[in-house]
Each structure stands twice: as C-alpha cells, then as structure tokens.
Amino acid sequence: MFEGLRARLQKVQGTLENNIARTASPAGIASPPMEKAGSASEKDPTLLTRVKVLITDREFLIAEKDVEEPLFELEMVLLENDVALPVTEEILRRVKADLTGKRRKIGESVDDIVISALRGALLGVLGQGFDLLSYIQSHERPVKILFTGVNGTGKTTTVAKVASYLKKHGCSVVIGAGDTFRAGALEQIDVHAARLGIKVIQHQAGADPSAVLFDAVQYAEAHRIDAVLADTAGRFHNRANLMKQLEKIRRVMRPDLVVYVDEAVAGNDAVVRAYEFEKTVGADAVVLTKADMDAKGGAAISIAHTIGKPVMFLGVGQGYDDIVPFSPAQVVDELLGVGS
C-alpha cells in the first residue's frame, strides 16, 4: 500500500540531499583565508560558524534554510498521502530538529544523514510492532481480545481473519458475536465461523453485547481455549451512549487486549476517532484494514502517532489469509528505499 508514498518520499529525499550537498560544496572549493571569513562574519555570523566548523573540524554545518524548501515539499507529500495535519507537523519538526545545526563530516555521505533523519522521524511515530502469537503464549489463557472501531472499517472481517491466523498457528479460538445491532451481522459472523470451523457464541439480535461476550469468555474458560475474539458493533466516538456501552463491555469481559480497527484509506478523521476511542475504552494495538486499496498508508502513521500504540496487523484483501503482521522498521526501510 505504500508504493505512492515511497516514490514521493524518495524524491524529497533526493532534493534534501541535493540542497545539502550544494551548500556544502562552494564552501569546500573556496576554502577562504581567515581574514576574509572574518569580514564576512560581521554580516553573516552563520557563515563564520560554518567556515570555522569547516576549517577546525573538517565538517559542514547544515542551516535551516538549506532544508526549508524540501521540507515544504515533504509536508505536501505527507499530506497528500493522508498523514493527518498535526502528525505531519510533528514529523517535520523532528526532521528539521534532526537536520539543522547538524555537522557533517567531509566524506560522510549526505544520503546517510538525510535517510537517518527521515528514518528516525518515521520510526519515532510508528513505534514498535506487536506480536500477537508471542503475546498469547506468554499470557494466561484464555487471552481475551476485544475489537472496536467505527462503522464499516472491517471489524467482523478482521475478527474472522485473526481467528483464521491464530488457528493456523496452533491456537484454539472462540468468537463472541458482540454485534447484536446491525442487521445481518450475526449471519455474517456465522458464515465466517462455519467456513473456518470455529465456534461462535451468540445470542439473538438486539441482545446485550456484554452478556454475549461474557458467555464467550465463560465458554473459553470451560473449554480451555487459547483466545476469545470479541466482535462489537461499529460505533461513532461522538455517540456518548454507544461509547458507554463499550465501556460496559470492557468492564464485564475484562479483555486482555483492546484492538482498535480502522481503515488505511481514512483521512484526517482517523486521528480524531483514534484519540476518542483510546480515551474512552483504551486501545492496546491497532489493525489497519483495506490496505490493499492502493492506500497511501498515511493513516497508519497518523493513528500510531496519535494513540502511541503499535499497529498489529494489516488487512490486505478479502480472503481469510489476507492479513499480515506489521513491522514498522521494515515498512520504513521500504518507504525510504534502503535495505532489501
């Protein structure tokens, strides 16, 4: 999903490198005598510092204005790729702080400086990944996982995919059909579970989701099942009553993990709702769905940064196997075109 962002990022990276290389070279060639540098210094102290640094330490100093234009370009790239505005500003701040005032040794590749600055900034916001399998292995079972999110982000499909993923890796799973509101939701999860051969605990439509999920947990405890996956109805974060219902669910079933599901194609609102969900019911990990939609991937960066929680999986298609664990370092390296 990150192809578009990758191409553009690499372009910006190129501009940054050029600008830095350009500012460095004239000073390098001129290599001015001390008196000349002294006279210039009265007007332009930066030049003096620069020359001083150059002569004494054989290093270059990168000034703010050298990176200004490419940074604006970087800002546009991030915005066009759905990184929310506040998050974009944060990334820019980091790159800027990282680059300006930095001394560059002659001979050190400009490439490395720029890449490490960008990489640092991106990794800083993406954080660590989350390994569900080792989490389940290292915790008391059943591990109870609650899936939350707004309407239509793909919670039910994700529950089915995660169930299939866990089953494939040798964990026993039970699904709690906590979406008792949407028409057809129970039928949907039923069909998924039947195809995967997984038990579903459900009541009738309109039942109290807390009760359903409590039963699912009881079932798992009685049958020594490794993981309970609790589906819930989609809800908007600005609906106080629905959010209270979710709080109740959390109180009743006491999940070990609350997983927030959102779509990779979401724009700026991703930040607002991630924040609200994290605030009211908390979130321990994030699943990003619909990453196969040629998405720009900015939502991953925005959400991870807003709630400071790791992205656990990416949903990349309509099949049960279309789910991949998310590894930030790998994604960032791919974005910047380094490594494999």
Partner: protein, 439 residues
C-alpha cells in the same frame, strides 16, 4: 481541536474588519487558516492549493463593489470559491428509474440502499431492491431485514454466487415497482475482476443513475478510487455516508471533481430515515467548522435561530426559562444545541462542554417539566421554592430531583451567557453585536 479551527478562521476574518484597503498580510493569514481547515477536512491537497491561490489573487486584484466593505468583499470571494469547490447537488428526480450503487468495502452501500428505498418510498414511489452482493456473508440478510421493516420487496439469493445472474433475474421480478435500487458488493479500484463485474452489471441493468458511495472519512485516496469507478461505469452522483461522525467529508469533493458529478445525498445516522438531500451551504459550514457562512455573506443576521431565540435579551442577561424553552423547541427542528450556538453570532464565546451533554431525550423531559410551570415561574425562576418544585414535579410526572436538575441546567446556561458579557461591559458588548451583525 476542530472547533479551534473555526475560531481561528473567524479571527482571521475579524482582522479584515474596518479596513479600507485589502491588507495583503491579513488575506494571506486568512488563506492559510482556510488551507489548514480544508486539509484537515480531507479535501484534496491540490484542490486546496488551487482554491487558496484563486482567493488570494481575486481578493487582491478585484475591486470591491461600491458600498461593500473590504471584509465583505473578501468573504464573498471566499464563499464563491468554496461554492465552486463543493459544486451543486446531483440530480435525483422522483420518477421511475434504476439506480446502481457502487463503492469501496465498508463505505455503507447496503445501509444507504435501504435509506434510499425509504426516501423514494416516502415520496410515494413503489420501490424494489436487488441484492447483487454475492460475496459478503450476511449481506442479503442485512438488506432483507432492513427492507422488510419498511415493506420494500428484496430480490436476492444468498446461495447464488453469480451477481450478474441475480441482476438478470431480479429486474423482471421487480417489474411491478417504479424505482429499482441495485446494491452491489464493496470493491476497490485495484480489484480488476470486480470492476469488470460492475461494468457487466451496468450493461445488463442499464441503470439511469450510477451512484458512488463514499465514506466521509475517506482521505486523499478518494480521487483515485472515484476516477477508476468513473472510468468503469460513468458515475453520475456521489453519496457521502457516516456524516454523523466527526469526519468532514472533504474526500468526497475530490470524487465529485473526478467524476464531474454532484453530491446527491448525505447519510448521517444508523436508521433508515437518516438520509438528507445534499445542501451546499451546510456542507461548507461543516468543512470549515464555522457557522453558516452564507448567512454571514447575505447579511441575513436575523435568520435561522434569531427568531427562535432572542439573542439580544439573552445577552442583556435576561435569559429566562422561557428563552430556554424556545431554545429547546428550536432544538427539535434544527438539531443539536451546539450547532445552533455555532449559528448564532456570538463570536468566540466559550460554553462549558457540560451544557452540550444534555441528550435529546432529556431535552424532551425538560420541556414537559417546563409545561407544568406557571408564567411567573418561567419569567423569574428565582421564585421557585421546594413546594413549587414539588407541585411542578407532580404535574409533569417527574421527580423533584429532575426539576432541580433542570434548574441547575438553566443556571449553567445563564452563567455561560453572562460570561460573554463579563469583563467587557455592556457598551462593548453592544458594539460587538453590531460588528457581528454586519458580518
């Protein structure tokens, strides 16, 4: 966070007040705030840049018409450009027709199909629905449940895997109806087979309208998706869903631009009645997070809430229970209190968040309680003692606690309104009102 945006825009507009010459710096600041607002609303970055450039050049180069202040001039340009950006509503005639729904997974096609069926049904047309979503489990059940509730016939077969066959069989089966809506499975631009499927469906159905359903939260991706849907089946209208969340729906604008169509409907709720025809002005207000810009432009300061709620009396500190009653009545017709307050020319006044947290059912209760009060009590709630409270509670079938709660709410509102006046003095306040009146 989002409300602050609206405020900063207002501040920027205020800086233009009273100027005789258009101030370049002020315009630039305004444009910058506008850019921030629009980008946060997910409007395509390139479109935002074009828009802001147009506003900048026009504001600085065009001469303000006679009798129009600089601020009105700039405001008018901003408004005109925004209207151009948003476009006009797409057409939806009340006549026999076939409508094909298209969209990404989870954008709300099935819910919207039911809402549309309800819309046309209420307008007196016979509606039928075909469920051509053969992929997602439960899709037919979902549509069937929703449509059975409102007695709309549904054609579909959860066992059938061939969407084309369903459409082919469904159209004759629906020959007794006037409006046929075809719900399809979610697909995205990169799924070649599915795109081909919807092309084939369109070939069989020859639908008069091909509407693209877009999630209000969809970001910069909207343009690309819309373009490819447009190439496939020539989209002629866009429906924005999930506008009841906090997303602003700016992404849909790129879809409109790509398909050269208009927004037809807006979905904003979970029941089948929560569908509205698109209305550009309200949409612009929402995009910018500020009150009704058009009302400002037309200097129609006393429209809308003005007649319902006596702003002047409120600001004089004479906010009685009667005013609150009028307010609550207005709420019923105009939506949440917060929205009304944002339409009132009150500037940047801060109303405590608690005041908004009163739910609509509570509002209803409050009105019933107030119906049990006497005239003097409504005019001057300070006469209310425990025996009066008891009488009111008995009359309204409420508990005295509820009546006290209502009085507390009233006091809070009153205090908030007083706070606006506070510090600045009466004369200042009146001047401010005048200023806002001219907005």
């Amino acid at each position: 966070m989002l409300d602050r945006l609206g405020t900063s825009l207002k501040d920027a507009l205020k800086k233009l007040a009273g100027k005789t010459v258009v101030d370049r710096a002020a315009v630039e600041e305004l444009v910058k705030d506008l850019q921030r607002a629009l980008i946060q609303a997910d409007v395509n970055v390139k479109m935002v840049m074009q828009l802001s450039q147009a506003i900048k050049t026009r504001s600085l180069e065009e001469q303000p018409p006679k009798g129009m202040t600089v601020r009105e001039h700039v405001l008018r340009i901003v408004y005109q450009e925004l209207v151009k950006l948003v476009g006009s509503a797409g057409e939806a005639r009340l006549e026999p027709q076939i409508i094909l729904m298209a969209g990404l997974q989870g954008s709300g096609k099935t819910t919207t199909t039911a809402k549309l069926a309800r819309y046309f049904q209420r307008k007196g047309l016979r509606v039928g629905v075909i469920c051509a979503d053969t992929f997602r489990p439960g899709a037919y059940d979902q549509l069937n449940t929703l449509c059975t509730r409102m007695n709309v016939p549904v054609f579909g077969n959860p066992k059938e895997k061939d969407a084309l066959k369903i459409v082919r069989e469904g159209l004759p089966a629906m020959s007794g109806t006037e409006v046929v809506i075809i719900d399809t499975q979610g697909r995205h631009a990169l799924e070649g087979e599915l795109i081909q499927e919807i092309i084939d469906i369109q070939q069989i159905a020859a639908a008069r309208h091909r509407w693209l359903v877009i999630d209000a939260a969809l970001g910069q991706q909207a343009a690309e998706q819309a373009r490819r849907f447009h190439e496939a089946i020539n989209i002629d209208g866009v429906i924005i869903t999930k506008m009841d969340g906090t997303a602003k729906g700016g992404g849909a604008l790129s879809a409109v631009a790509e398909t050269k169509s208009g927004i037809v409907f807006i979905g904003s709720g979970e029941t089948s009645d929560d569908l509205e025809r698109f209305e550009p002005d309200g949409f612009i207000s929402r995009l910018l997070g500020m009150g009704d810009l058009k009302a400002l432009v037309e200097r129609a300061e006393e429209t809308m809430a003005g007649q319902e709620v006596d702003v002047n009396a409120m600001l004089r500190g004479k906010f009685s229970l009667r005013d609150m009653y009028a307010q609550l009545e207005a709420v019923n017709r105009m939506g949440p209190l917060k929205q009304i307050m944002s339409m009132l020319p009150l500037g940047n006044m801060e109303i405590p968040q608690d005041a908004y947290d009163v739910t609509s059912t509570k509002m209803q209760r409050y009105r019933i309680i107030m119906d049990s009060m006497t005239g003097p009590e409504l005019d001057d709630p300070s006469v209310m003692g425990s025996s009066r409270i008891h009488r009111i509670a008995m009359g309204a079938g409420a508990s005295p606690e509820e009546v006290r709660e209502l009085l507390r709410y009233y006091k809070m509102m009153k205090k908030a309104l007083k706070g606006v006046r506070g510090g600045q003095g009466k004369f200042n306040m009146q001047r401010m009102m005048k200023k806002f009146g001219g907005m």
